[in-house]
């Protein structure tokens, strides 16, 4: 324990050292942070009117940014799964970057929520015993739990792995493997719960759709690896850290598979969260042409099979298709 604290202290010290480029970059970021702190301080005094945003824009702008960052955090599992489930050794060299990115993204999520509050100084109203935590009634309280849980999981895993590297010892499995597998399920939960922030609202008929979480995850699992590829390219150019090509190819493959369910589909083909032109009212009670469970089934099939029967190019990921839709889909279960 004492050793771990020494480790943290040394991490803290070493994080202040670098070349002039490092200092220039950190100063630049610090200036941006201070500009943000200043804007927030003004908003705290004057109220949210400072931004000039109206009802419709204000909540939407913050929650959209929040959701995006939740997606980035959840996408860290796209590095964890190849490393720990498929046991790709080369991914172990980079999985830590994914976990660290998740930590940064979650911290930004929590900050987005905080700056969006009308009364941030009353934040303790949510924490028992000072306040009332409306769980499980409010889906927002679920989000608080899953986000902070994911943050702790990743802090533990990343911290432990770095500590072992610092000690030069091999990590003990029981200290991190259970947490790694928990974090895989947990990553799915953070974006699912975030999607249900919208799906469950009576006032937001536009989002009444059972597959919003699936769509959120699919797009996050494309956007996250995309960001990681950019990060890898920068890391291997500016740092003496060998990443190799394989992790990048793996990320590329994941993106290719998931682009299908994540991309907006052509009008008429049923879209996942009902956002394509002309068909979003199909998701609204009273406008639905068929009962919800039928809709969900059709869209699941559309998600994984695409418009196979109609245009014949749905076979770009037959494995998923076979898993999701079974023999109905008309695709051999195992193409290999």
């Amino acid at each position: 324990m004492r050793d771990y604290l020494t480790f943290l202290w040394r991490v803290w010290r070493v994080s202040w050292q670098g070349s002039w480029k490092f200092y220039a970059w950190m100063i630049f970021l610090s200036v941006l942070v201070l500009v943000g702190v200043n804007a927030w301080a003004r908003q705290f005094v004057q109220g949210l009117a400072t931004t000039g945003m109206t009802d419709q824009v204000s909540w939407g702008a913050y929650i959209a940014n929040f959701t995006f960052l939740v997606g980035v955090a959840a996408a860290a599992v796209m590095l964890v799964i190849p490393a720990y489930i498929y046991k790709k050794d080369y991914m172990h060299e980079v999985v830590l970057f994914g976990e660290l990115m998740a930590i940064a993204a979650i911290v930004m999520c929590l900050l987005f929520v905080t700056v969006d509050l009308g009364h941030p100084e009353r934040f303790h109203h949510m924490i028992p015993p000072f306040g009332i935590f409306n769980f499980p009634g409010s889906i927002l309280s679920w989000d608080v739990i899953v986000l902070n849980g994911y943050l702790l999981l990743n802090l533990h895993i990343a911290g432990y792995m770095l500590y072992c590297r610092y000690r030069g010892t091999a990590p003990t499995k029981k200290f991190y493997i259970p947490f790694v597998f928990l974090s895989i399920a947990w990553a799915v939960s953070i974006h699912t719960v975030t999607a249900f922030l919208y799906v469950g609202l009576a006032g937001r008929a536009y989002w009444h759709h059972p597959l919003v979480p699936a769509r959120f995850l699919a797009s996050a699992f494309v956007a996250g690896p995309a960001l990681m590829i950019l990060a890898f390219q920068i890391i291997r150019r500016v740092m003496r850290y060998d990443i190799g090509d394989k992790p990048i190819f793996t990320m590329r493959m994941i993106m290719t598979v998931l682009l299908r369910p994540a991309r907006p589909q052509r009008p008429g083909a049923v879209d996942l969260d009902g956002h394509c032109a002309g068909c979003h009212w199909a998701a609204v009670p009273g406008h639905a042409p068929e009962p919800p469970y039928r809709r969900a089934e059709h869209r699941l099939r559309d998600l994984f099979c695409g418009d196979l029967d109609r245009e014949g190019h749905g076979a770009d990921h037959p494995r998923l298709c076979a898993v999701a839709a079974g023999p109905d889909c008309g695709i051999p279960a195992d193409p290999e």
Partner: protein, 324 residues
Amino acid sequence: MSDAPKNIVSPQTIEQVYKPMNRRTFLKGTAGAMVGMAGLVAALKPLLALEKGEISLDDLLQKHYRQLSPEDLQRIMTMLEKRCEKQYGVRPTIQDLKPMDGVQFGYALNLTRCVGCRKCAHACLAENNQSRDYDDDLSMSYIRVLEMNKGAINLETSTAYYDPELVPQKDKYYMPVQCHQCKDSPCTKVCPVQATWQEKDGIVVVDYNWCIGCRYCMAACPYDARRFNYQKPTIKPEAINRNQDYLSNRIRPKGVVEKCTFCLQRTRAGKYPACLEVCPTGARVFGNVLDPNSEINYILNNKRVYILKEDVGTLPRFYYYFDV
């Protein structure tokens, strides 16, 4: 494709990792820290503009309305009266009227009679002390009157911003929308801190001293019934209604959500809501639905009643009806 990378870290001594601390690095570090702190202080400078006593320790330690003892509540209400006098120059009387036994309020609005004059929306402002940038600023009024095209009850083709010389206009009809005080209210469910809840007479209220201002309830409401105080409410002293209730029309702090309470400061004292009293066509009917002889009961039993957005399933206590 390259082979799996080898990032083997050779053991390093502390001296190899850290630059040695000497006079020069120490001074540089101190100077950097000073500049950083100065920057942070400068960035936080706007906080000095907070009014003295705006966030007191008492405020931060105050409990939820339903956990307050009667003495504590009385003390807080007296404090709020004083604060209002200091900030707005008018000393109100803040009380805390409790729901009555055997009463559940219901509200019905006659779409055949409503002419869209918006007198109800203005009366709401006069009664409930909402913030306003100018005298007729209806943006915080709890009532939005929608101008609808004849032929359908279609909210998508309606407008709340109609402004003709005379109402009603040809081929239009009018639908005032305010809080429906739903029995299965989505706004109270989503609140992460239970700052809003339904009282036993059916009125959905907000504890303005507990609300954290996350506005999730506004996103959940299908009727656009909730308003947010984006800044400290602006209201002229002569426009302030001094008859105030803790859970209803007292002047709100900035950064909290407020809403229609069926004027509980009036209706729990046996009066009608302000919007009903002012209606020139008698389109509004309010009363106790548990009373078999009430007018509201007669309307619900005998008229053609319409529930707005019945399909979202929130079970409103606000009904529209048609005369035939």
